[in-house]
Subunit: 214 residues, 2 copies
Amino acid sequence: MKVFSVVGITESGKTTTIENIIKELRKRKYSVGSVKEIHFEQFAIDTEGSNTYRHKEAGSQLVTARGYYETDILFQERLSMDEILKFYNHDFVILEGVTDANVPKIITAHNEKEILERLDDMVFAISGKLSNTLEEFEGLPVINAMDNAERLVDLIEEKVFDKLSVKSKVKLQIDGKDIDMVPFVQNILFNAVLGVVKELEGYEKGKEIVVRIL
Amino acid sequence: MKVFSVVGITESGKTTTIENIIKELRKRKYSVGSVKEIHFEQFAIDTEGSNTYRHKEAGSQLVTARGYYETDILFQERLSMDEILKFYNHDFVILEGVTDANVPKIITAHNEKEILERLDDMVFAISGKLSNTLEEFEGLPVINAMDNAERLVDLIEEKVFDKLSVKSKVKLQIDGKDIDMVPFVQNILFNAVLGVVKELEGYEKGKEIVVRIL
């Protein structure tokens, strides 16, 4: 699973850039997920008076709305990016406006000052409003996602690394027989087990974990 | 985790009954989650034009909205109740209008005909509009949740069984040492592992599973 972030101030072109990246990634047959950070304190997806809202107001601590074509799990807290990413198993996950994830980044900006405020080693491209007027900034390519999504996604394919590929060393046996898993499935199982076990007393990073289900 | 459902036609008092049950369960210090089944084909929690909506329209297959005080995971499919319940680890989970879960049930109704249409062995109480006029129906207590939530919740405590308590036999070792887990945590680990493993070729129900993380 390859994760990257698009950061920049309001109206700098984040969502438009992301829309074009998603379309191009899907065109290349990748599976894609995304996370939108909402920098607006009053944000609530549910509307007052709905039945799910009434559940929550009465004291339900986790409310799910299941419709014919969607299922919405409404956590009443700001989950960490690691917790959120456990729900994903896509080829690419794009984070919009997320700053607490240590992943490769694209900056969208109106001007050079905005770039400099966000520039660090993880930035591999610049996009957004500024890309109409500039082609390069301190060695970084400046690419307009609206008319050159192909080039931006070429760069994403090249620069964005697999977030989990290093840490996962998982083995599985069923009825005494070794079961082969592709890295993708290994990662899911690794995250599923570690998500629980690391909360337990006795857990220590780097020690072997064995789970046995009879 | 104890799971039960409240079923009945529109306006029979489902949400009001559930609100009162949730309040009483929380008063008794239980943790409570809930799921609302939405029988309305056009239901969509997200609004046209929002950034998350734009992600989805561009092709993002799983969109999360993270605000200051909530995190909403928006699956673009109707998940099964088993899949949904994996997100829960509460003492009680109440399902509103859900009919595809084999759990104890309360029927809310306007009249006896509506009860009979939904009556089966899993029903342990009747509530809703009808509870103003009736006290018992075919040996089942008819209880008004608005003025007698205590009695209804006494019955819930007595009748609703632990959905997972039987199937979970999980052992955990870290660095060669046995780690004790309360049943609640065992269930989480059991579900986490089985959720992944049962999708793999080689899985067979009832066979021992061993996961080893180095």
